[in-house]
Structures are given as structure tokens and as C-alpha cells.
Amino acid sequence: MGSGNEQFLNLTLKVWRQKNSKTAGTFETHQLTGISTDMSFLEMFDVLNEKLIHEGKDPIAFDHDCREGICGMCSMFINGRPHGPKQGITTCQLHMRSFKNGDTIIVEPWRSAAFPVIKDLSVDRTAFDRIISSGGYVSVNTGNAQDANNILIPKSAADEAFAAAACIGCGACVATCKNGSAMLFVSAKVSQLALLPQGQAERKERVLNMIAQMDAEGFGNCTNTGACEAECPKGISIENIARMNREFIGASLTTPNK
């Protein structure tokens, strides 16, 4: 439907092209004309790819799926910022009305040692899955649960856990961090489960194991620059990192042989 103020833009796009993880990449420049301000950023890429296919050129590979800001698959680094110039949204939610006629837009993949490029703008984020496998769960087999209302959870704790659980695992925090740190991602899961009664039994083990896996994957450490929080499309708070550090120290000091 659009805002009723539809305009059409002419744009220069500089897009990262890289055949696979073994070859070096380079920027490729494309001119686009008549891009509607009602289009989403990814729809602008659809238009570009349609043009490339028409010209017999290899379309640009990029990750995307739900296009409603929740699956966490889209992952473009736009003009030096993950998910582009607007705060609190993913690339798929970014619309062209955020750009001006004549703009040059630079689009890169997430860049981090722990996220190798697969092709063009697609990267491999399976490190995140391995971190979750190392402890980002409550060990409860199907059928073991008691009635859901048997344990009361104060609304404030449930809300705070939910705010941390809203992480979509997109990796913008890693991409924007000068250290390539995954602390915001890991701390969101650690916090969610530390805040809920269901997470208590494995609380110490969880934080120790998840941090060990995070380090093993090659993510950097946190130096409190706060870029992750500023760029997180879901507004995950950096307070979670502080909480994870407390959890980690507490667990380290009280767990034998760790």
C-alpha cells in the first residue's frame, strides 16, 4: 500500500561479490533507476537480480527468508552498518524511503572470522547453533513436564526473560563488533534461562559450557563498546552481557575442576 508519498530513486550500488569461501572477493558496481521508495531493500535486490539474469550475469546470492524481521536470516552490512541505517530493524524491514535519490549504497556480507563467506553476501553462521548445542537449553525430555501453572513466575521476570529471548540469532552483533564478539548473542540465551526458575538446575554448567564453545568458535571478547546493542534489530540489552559475566564469575568460582 505504501505511504502515499511514493517516489522513484536512481541509485549506485557497490556490492560485494565473492565466488566462494576459497576465493578473494571484490566490489561490483551497479546502477539502478526508478526504484520505488515503497520497496523493501531486499525487493530492490530482487529488481537488481532480475536485471542481472536478463543480462545473462550471475545473480547476487544473499540470505533471506521470512521478510518480516523475525527469522534472522537476512544479513547485509549496508553503508557500514548491519541491517542498514535505521535502528531496531532487520534488512528485510528496511525500506527504500530511508534513501535519497542519487545515493551510493555499499553492501557487504557480515565480516567475522567465525562467519566465513559462502558466496557474495551469504555467510556461514552455524557457530551460533553449536553454541546453543553446548548448553542453550533446559534438559527436559518430552512428557516430563508438570502443569504449566505449578511454578509461578513474576511477570517482571517473565518479561525480562522474554526481552532476552527475542534474539533472532542474525549475527548483527558479531558483524558490528570490532572484536567480532558474540557476547550479546550468548548472553541473551544465558540471561533468558538464568531469569527463569526452569533454568536454575543447569545454570552454572550452562554459562561455562556456552562460553567455552563461544571461545572455541573463534569469537572475540567484549570490550564494552556497545555497538552490538546499538545495532541489534531486536533491542537486546547489553545488560545481558553484564549478567552473563556475573553468571560466569559466580559459576567459575563455585564449580570444581572448571
Binding site: 527468508d65 518480516e68 527475542a166
Partner: protein
């Protein structure tokens, strides 16, 4: 005699599942370790099934085309999940959830399946809470509920507007835990491209590693299709871009019957189309209808003034607004089921009352409840006497923000319009497919050893799904049904294995070395090579768009004989054109998203035809299937229970050749009646 045996257990409705569950043959733990199960898809159904089966001791392989199991489109479900907990003490019960679901499905679902779904619904909530899923709570620490369409009790559990995300992440964490223990092998960025059957049984799949392009052979004693629905046949839908029918369609072409393909759910509250560039449509949760009132202007001149940008809808007086759902359906009002609400919006827009440039939009307006419901409530709480209109608005806005904040933000991002100050514009869009692979009570398809779970099967929603029931069904199938029912088949496999243990060429020893795997792999390779060698002039995307337009125009919210007949021919022609003129670039042995899409669109081009054929044969209106020839004078759907109270299950016989099989639906516990929400 029908080929279809639904295997519904004997006994009274409320005892069927309990009794049956206790009599299913068990597989002992030692034998479970030697049984392999393939799960295709990692959404609510797939992830919950895989985690549960791995916990039980089976060896599980999970496939998804995305980069992680956590991306599956279940994640986008907004509003909630139903469960017959009766926590609100408002008269809910298992029977009532069962009854509402059968009625909501317009009496086209199987009683026994739906009752089982209602029975396990409470266990799902327990399981999710135990996993640490942060569902919404009241101040006292108890779980909170809200209402959804088609029901008069509060039984919907939720986590803001992100219920699907939280439930999926719960199932995903259970799945990743099993990946960590080695019981599940996770194959992300892999796509199933063929089902392998040997001696009539499902024995594995051919999958493509989407990064390297390599074709892989995978063996399983059972294969579970949990790959979701096929709404993307319509090109524009609320589905994710990658959502596809390929796994289900390949299974269908190998012998699994496809049931009720024409039953598609058009969701009433989506953000309208903005232009030709549109790649997908975004849902605004049904929960918004709790507080949003749907209307269009009563006067044509107001409609024209709005379209011309000369009139703000807020200026239209209450008496000049047509709250058409409240007018037509006073008992349920804005909370009528989805199919009813969608058709009513179409009716108003077709009559010329659509409120945007395309004429295809109606208002969903929160102003009234914001001020006079929540604003007043907050003012009372705060002891503000005689609050001004502005105060009421500000106080109410905070409540609306708390309840629906993420949805309102999403709306503003997409449209550039502030929905706190202006009514939302909405229009129906394709959202869910009730049809799917035919399954029996055990969730097994017509191919032994092949199962379908979640949206990929047809079983529980009849002709129309009620809101907040998809999450319930996906998780019921995965957590609480398949772990039991798979034993019926796998216990026979155990017997077979023990009989064949000295046989050198038994399938358990040969596995993917069986020649059938090589044959299927060669066929998949040939199909991929064909895409790359056509070297035509039109993109895959452009064919998908054209198919979508045919489907939406002629097999969408309202259907008739003439349009459906035309659509079948048009789809056949489009398919022929596709195979002559499609252009797919790049190679087969690399990451090639356009090649992936070519395969999916090729399958949609076959499925679309079957949907139209099913819609054409069903000479009645029911649920999501509305035939213009079959309506009352008031424009309500007219069902034909004498001739069409059956499941239409189609058998693939060759290109454009499908044979109909009927499973009669017997209602022994619910009196089949006209479905009224007036």
C-alpha cells in the same frame, strides 16, 4: 472399496487415544538405537518430532534448506497457541476445543484426530513452559490468555506478538540439545529433492547440499515430511520466501495421496499490496481483532475523498462508518473466523468501498478501544477524574503499545504510516494451507514408512483453520503423537530386521548402496541439468509471479467453474513455457539460490493445477473454499453435506492425471450443522 484406511481406533471418542496409546507396540531401547529416522523440515513439527524421537533413542537426521533449524517459518507465527487448560475458568474444556475446531473447520475434519489434538493441547503448554519458553504472565505469576477468532473462551497462550518465535526456539533448543549429544545429525542448507522407495516402503531421500551442490543419498527406516504448507503457490503470501512444496510434492509423485489441496486459508488482516515489486505480504496478527474494529465508509463520496487524499479517515463520523462484521455477525463481531472475515472484506471492496488507491483495503481501527476501553481503565487506575480526550488517548496508547507494540512497529516500517494515529489498512492474503499429504490416524501417508506432520499434512483443520491452532497442531504432532504412533510401523521393521539378520542383501546392511538410491540420484541430477541447459529468456521469478496471479485471480477467495477451468489450461500452458524458456544461470556444483528456486517453482506449477482441479470438483462452499455458484442469498457459504462430506485424496497417475479417492467423514459425536456466527 476405498483405498484409504484412516485406522481410527475403536471405542468412545474420549477414550480412543488413551486406549490406543497404551496398546501400540513398543520398540525396545536396544532396537531403537539401530533404527534411523529422517525428518525433513525443522519447524515446530519437525524440530519437536526430531527432538522427541532422539530423546527416545532413535537415530535422527534433520534436513532444512535454511542456514539453521531456527529459521523455519513457524518462527513468524504471531498471535498464539490454543490449549484447553481452562485456566480462565470460562467454561473451556477438551470437548469445547474439539467442538470449536471441528465447527471452525466447517465440518470437514476427522473427529478422532481433532479430539486427540484437543486432548494433548494442555501437555504442549506444560512442555514449552518447562523448556523455558517465556509465555506471557499475569501479575500473580500465572499464565495469561487471550481470545482468538471463532471461539468465545480465552484459551490462547502467547508471548507478545512473537509466540511462534518463542515456541520454535523452545523446540529448536530441544533439537540442538540432541545435536549436542550426537543423537541428531543436523543437515542445514540441505534440500530434499526426491523420496526413495524400495518395495513400496519409504527408505530414504536424495538431498542436495545447497552450498556445494553435491547430491547425497540418505537412508532411513522412516521418513517424516515436516516441510510446512504450500501457500507460496500464490507467489504473494505471508509465507517465507523459501517456503515450498517440493518435499511433499516429490512424496506425492512417489505415491503419497494429496488431500484437499484446494483448502487454502486467506487471512483477513494483512498489509495490502503496494506495487508490482511486492515479494511477500505481511500478516498483522489476528489478535489485533480483539481490540481493532474493522470498517469501511458507508458513503461512496467519503471513499473517493480518502482515495484522493482529501479526507483523513479519523474525520469520518461513527454513524458514517460501516462496521460490517459487527453488522453482519453480531454474535461474534470482529472475532468471526478467518474465512468469514476475509470474504466480508472482499465483498465490501468488490462493492467499491476499498479505502486505498487499488480499492483493496479496509480499516482496522484501534482508536475506539484505545481511548474508551484502555484509556478509561488506566485513568480509573490512576485516579484521574474527568480525563480529557488527549489524556485518554495517551493512557490507552501505552496499553496498546504493551500488547501489540512489535506489530505496530512492523506496520509503520512497511507502510510509512503511524498506526497509533491512523487506522491500519488491511486486506486478506494467503496464509496457510489446510490441505496436504493424506495421513491416517498414525500420521502415516499412503506410503508405508512415510509420515507427514504439521502443516504438511491435511488432518486436523478441515476446510478452515482457527487462529492459534497451527502452532498447537505442529507441536501436538511432533511432541505427543508421532513418538507413539511411529512405533506401530517401526515395531514391524524390528521384526523384519530380525528375520533378515542373516540376509546379506537386507536393506539394513545395504542402505544407500541399494541400486534404487543410484537410480533416483541420477534422475535428480538429470532434472537439475535440464534446468541449466534450457537457457531460455525468462527468469524463474517471473514464472512464479505469473503462476501466482492465475492462482489468486481464479483459485483465490472466490472460485467458479469457468475461472477454474481456464486456470487449469493456463497453468498447463505456463508449465510448458517454463520448461522451454526458463533461464537458470550458474552451475549445479555451487551455491545457487536461483537453481533451488527453479526446482520449487517447477513443483508449484504442477501442484497449482491439482489445486484448481480439486476446487473444480468440489461443488460446494466450505471454509476456505468458496464457490460462487454455491452461496445463500445473503452471500454466505452453502455447504453440501450430502455429496461432499468427504476428504478428497488425489493419487498421482502421471502429468495432469490425478485419480480421486474419497474418505467419508463420519460425525458420531458432533451434530453436523450449518456454521453460523451471526
Amino acid at each position: 472399496m476405498s483405498k484409504l484406511d484412516s485406522k481410527i481406533p475403536e471405542g468412545s471418542l474420549d477414550q480412543k487415544w488413551t486406549k490406543y496409546r497404551s496398546t501400540i507396540p513398543l520398540v525396545n531401547p536396544a532396537n531403537k538405537r539401530s533404527l534411523e529416522v529422517i525428518v525433513v523440515g525443522s519447524g515446530l513439527a519437525g524440530a519437536s518430532a526430531a527432538a522427541s524421537l532422539a530423546e527416545m533413542g532413535y537415530q535422527v537426521k534433520v534436513f532444512c534448506f535454511q542456514d539453521s533449524a531456527r529459521r523455519a517459518h513457524s518462527i513468524a507465527a504471531q498471535g498464539g497457541i490454543n490449549a484447553a487448560k481452562n485456566y480462565q475458568n470460562d467454561g473451556d474444556s477438551i470437548y469445547r476445543l474439539f467442538y470449536d475446531t471441528v465447527k471452525g473447520g466447517d465440518y470437514r475434519a476427522r473427529e478422532a484426530n481433532v479430539h486427540r489434538l484437543a486432548e494433548v493441547s494442555g501437555n504442549i503448554i506444560d512442555q514449552c513452559v518447562a523448556q523455558g519458553v517465556p509465555l506471557a504472565r499475569e501479575y500473580g505469576g500465572l499464565l495469561s490468555n487471550r481470545s482468538f477468532g471463532g471461539t468465545q473462551v480465552q484459551r490462547t497462550f502467547y508471548a507478545a506478538g512473537q509466540t511462534g518465535q518463542q515456541l520454535l526456539l523452545g523446540a529448536y533448543s530441544a533439537l540442538q540439545r540432541q545435536v549436542g549429544t550426537g543423537m541428531v545429525t543436523m543437515l542445514a542448507r540441505h534440500e530434499m529433492l526426491e523420496l526413495v522407495t524400495i518395495d513400496g516402503k519409504a527408505r530414504g531421500i536424495i538431498a542436495r547440499n545447497l552450498i556445494t551442490g553435491e547430491l547425497e543419498k540418505h537412508f532411513g527406516h522412516a521418513v517424516l515430511i515436516c516441510s510446512g504448507g504450500y501457500g507460496n503457490v500464490f507467489y504473494l503470501s505471508t509465507n517465507a520466501m523459501g517456503s515450498n512444496a517440493t518435499a511433499a510434492w516429490k512424496a506425492h509423485k512417489k505415491g503419497a495421496f494429496f488431500a484437499n489441496p484446494c483448502y487454502t486459508q486467506i487471512h483477513p488482516t494483512c498489509i495490502p499490496v503496494s506495487g508490482d515489486h511486492q515479494s511477500k505480504l505481511t500478516l498483522m496478527s489476528e489478535s489485533l481483532r480483539n481490540d481493532g474494529r474493522i470498517w469501511v465508509p458507508k458513503k461512496k463520496e467519503d471513499v473517493e475523498a480518502i482515495r484522493a487524499g482529501k479526507l483523513n479517515p479519523n474525520q469520518i463520523k461513527p454513524e458514517d462508518r460501516d462496521y460490517y462484521l459487527e453488522r453482519r455477525y453480531p454474535a461474534f463481531g470482529n472475532l468471526v473466523p478467518r474465512d468469514v472475515a476475509s470474504r466480508a472484506a472482499k465483498e465490501r471492496c468488490d462493492a467499491g468501498y476499498g479505502v486505498n488507491k487499488t480499492g483493496q483495503a479496509v480499516y482496522l481501527d484501534f482508536a475506539h478501544n484505545m481511548k474508551y476501553k484502555y484509556g478509561k481503565m488506566e485513568a480509573t487506575k490512576k485516579g484521574i477524574q474527568n480525563p480529557t480526550e488527549a489524556q485518554l488517548e495517551a493512557l490507552g496508547m501505552d496499553v496498546i503499545k504493551e500488547k501489540y507494540g512489535n506489530l505496530f512497529d512492523m506496520y509503520e516500517q512497511i507502510t510509512g504510516v503511524n498506526p497509533y494515529k491512523n487506522p491500519m489498512q488491511i486486506y486478506p492474503a494467503v496464509h496457510y494451507t489446510m490441505g496436504g499429504l493424506w495421513v491416517d490416524y498414525n500420521l502415516m501417508t499412503t506410503i508405508p514408512g512415510l509420515y507427514a506432520l504439521g502443516e504438511a499434512n491435511f488432518s486436523d483443520h478441515g476446510a478452515n483453520r482457527l487462529g492459534a491452532s497451527a502452532l498447537m497442531q505442529g507441536l501436538a504432532d511432533g511432541y505427543f503423537v508421532i513418538p507413539y504412533t511411529i512405533g506401530v510401523y517401526l515395531s514391524t521393521e524390528v521384526t523384519r530386521m530380525s528375520n533378515e539378520k542373516d540376509k546379506a542383501d537386507s536393506i539394513d546392511k545395504v542402505k544407500t548402496k541399494h541400486p534404487e538410491f543410484d537410480k533416483e540420484l541420477a534422475e535428480v541430477k538429470a532434472r537439475i541439468d535440464k534446468f541449466l541447459t534450457i537457457k531460455g529468456t525468462q527468469s524463474v521469478e517471473s514464472f512464479h509471479k505469473r503462476l501466482g496471479k492465475i492462482m489468486w485471480d481464479k483459485c483465490g477467495m472466490a472460485r467458479n467453474k469457468q475461472h477454474l477451468t481456464e486456470a487449469i489450461k493456463e497453468i498447463q500452458d505456463l508449465r510448458a513455457e517454463f520448461w522451454k524458456d526458463v533461464r537458470v544461470l550458474g552451475t549445479a556444483d555451487e551455491f545457487n539460490p536461483d537453481l533451488e528456486k527453479a526446482g520449487r517453482v517447477a513443483d508449484f506449477l504442477e501442484l497449482g493445477e491439482l489445486m484448481c482441479k480439486d476446487a473444480l470438483h468440489r461443488e460446494e462452499s466450505c471454509g476456505g473454499h468458496f464457490r460462487e455458484e454455491h452461496q445463500t442469498e445473503e452471500g454466505e457459504a452453502k455447504r453440501d453435506d450430502v455429496n461432499f462430506a468427504y476428504v478428497a485424496a488425489w493419487e498421482f497417475k502421471g502429468e495432469s492425471n490425478f485419480e480421486l479417492h474419497k474418505e467419508e467423514l463420519k460425525y458420531e459425536n458432533i451434530k453436523i450443522a450449518a456454521r453460523s456466527y451471526k
